[in-house]
Amino acid sequence: MKLIHCPKVGTRPASEFVYGGLWRPMPDPDSTTDMEWSHYVFHRDGAPGVQREWWCHAPTGMWFVAERDTMKDEFLRTMTVAEAMKDLAHG
C-alpha cells in the first residue's frame, strides 16, 4: 500500500489523504492587471516535474505541503505550511 508522510500526523495510508492543488504564491489582487490575474487563476505550467502541492490528512483535517514528482508519482519531501511559507519568503 502506498504511504504518505504528514509532518504532523506521521506516516499513514495514501487513502487517508486528499490532494489540494498546486502550492503557489498569490499575487496582490489590487496591483495585478486582469491578464496577470487570469493567468494566476487559470494557467498552469502543467508539464511533468517536481512541484509543491497542498495535501490534507482528511481524518484530522491537517493541511501540509508536499514536494512530488508528477512523472514518477513519488513524494520527495513533505513540510508544514509554516516551513513552506519560510521557503517562499527566502524566494
Binding site: Y19, H39, H43, R44, D45, G46, D73
Partner: protein, 412 residues
Amino acid sequence: MPLRLLKNAFSDAPDPRFFNTPRGLRDSYDVVIIGGGGHGLACAYYLARDHGITNVAVLEQGYIGGGNTGRNTTIVRSNYLTPEGVKFYDESVRLFQDLAEDFDLNIFYSERGHFTLAHTDAAMRTMRWRAEVNKHFGIDSEVVDRDTIAEAVPMMDLDCGGEHPVLGALYHAPGAVVRHDAVAWGYGRGADKRGVEIHQKTRVTGIRVVQGKVTGVETDRGVIKTGKVISMVAGSTPRVTKMAGITTPIVIHPLQACVTEPMKPWLDTIIVSGSLHVYVSQSSRGELVMGAALDPAILHSTRSTLDFVEGLADQMLDLFPFLGNSKVMRQWAGMADMTPDFAPIMGRTAVDGFYIDAGWGTWGFKATPVSGKTMAWTVANDKDHALIEPFSLARFDRFELVGERGAASVGH
C-alpha cells in the same frame, strides 16, 4: 472473412496494409500535425479531402491510436449542458453516423441509448436543465422516471441496496458506442490515400518560433520546416505547448478503465451514474466496459491501480449486485488533459502558425470527427471556425468560461 484468411494462407503476398509507410521525412511540409490519435488523423483527412491541402505530415511518437484514442470507452453522445457544447457535439454525432460510408469501413457504430442516472434532487434538477437545453437545439433528450429505467434495464437494483436510490434519469436515445481503432484507421487510411504522410515512431522534441511565428519542428529524426503546426496530443499537451513557449490551464490526471470477462448479453444501453462515479456498457464481445472518475492528483503516467478497480467494483455492485462473481480481465489508464471548465481548448494561439486542439480530458473521443473538421477549416483559413470560437484559449483571459462540468465529469 474466413475465406479471405484461407486465401492468404496459400499466397505469398500479405494482405495490403492500411497505410503506406513513407520512406523518410521530407525537409518541409505545408502543415505538420503533432499526434496520430483520432484527432490528428481526422484533421489530416479533412485538410486533404475538404481543402485540398495534402502536403501534410502527421508525426506520431508511438503507433497511431496508441494514446487516449485506443484507451477510451467510446461513448458518443451530444446531451451536453451549454448551448456551445450541444451544437458542437451534435455536429460530431451527425458526422459519426455517416463515417462508415465515408471510409468504406465498418466502424461498429452501435446506437444503444444512454441513461444518466440521478440519485438526488440536485442531480434531477441538472437533468431537467440539460433536457431543456438539448430539446431547444433539437436533440433527442428527455427526463425519464424509475419505471422507464426498470423496463430498459431489468437487472438494475434501482434502490442501490437502499443507500442511494435512483430517482430518475436523463435519457438520450442517440447515445452510441463505436470501435475506436476503426475510427483512427479509417481516418488514417483516408488521409494516406489522399497523399498525407503518416510517420509513426517520430517524436517531436522542439518547435522553432522566430519573432512570434512558427518556422519548423524538431524531431528525433531531424528538423522539418513548416509554417503551420497543429498540436493534437491530448495528455502530452503541456509538454508540447512548453516547446512553443505558451502556457494553458491544462493539467494532466490519469483516467482509468477496465473490462470484465465476456458474458451473455444482458445490457444493451449505456448506464452512467454521476453520483456513484461509474459508468458501464456491454461490448459486442460481451465484456462489460467500465470506468469511473479521474484519479485525484496530477500525474503524467499510464499506470493503473488496485484502488481504482476496488472503488469501481464497490459502486458497480450497488447498481448490479448479481455481478459479484464476475472477473475483471484487463485494466488500463490514459492521461486526461483537463481544463477548469470541462470544455476543450481549440484554434489559433498567440504564436502565429501554432494551433491547438486539446483539453479533451475524459470526453474527447466523441469529438474526433468535428474537431478534425473544424481544425482543418481553421488552419486552411487561418481563422477560428464558428463552432469552436467559444473554445479559444483566450477565453480564460476574458473570464468567459464554458461551464460544461455538469454534463462532462463522469459521463464522458
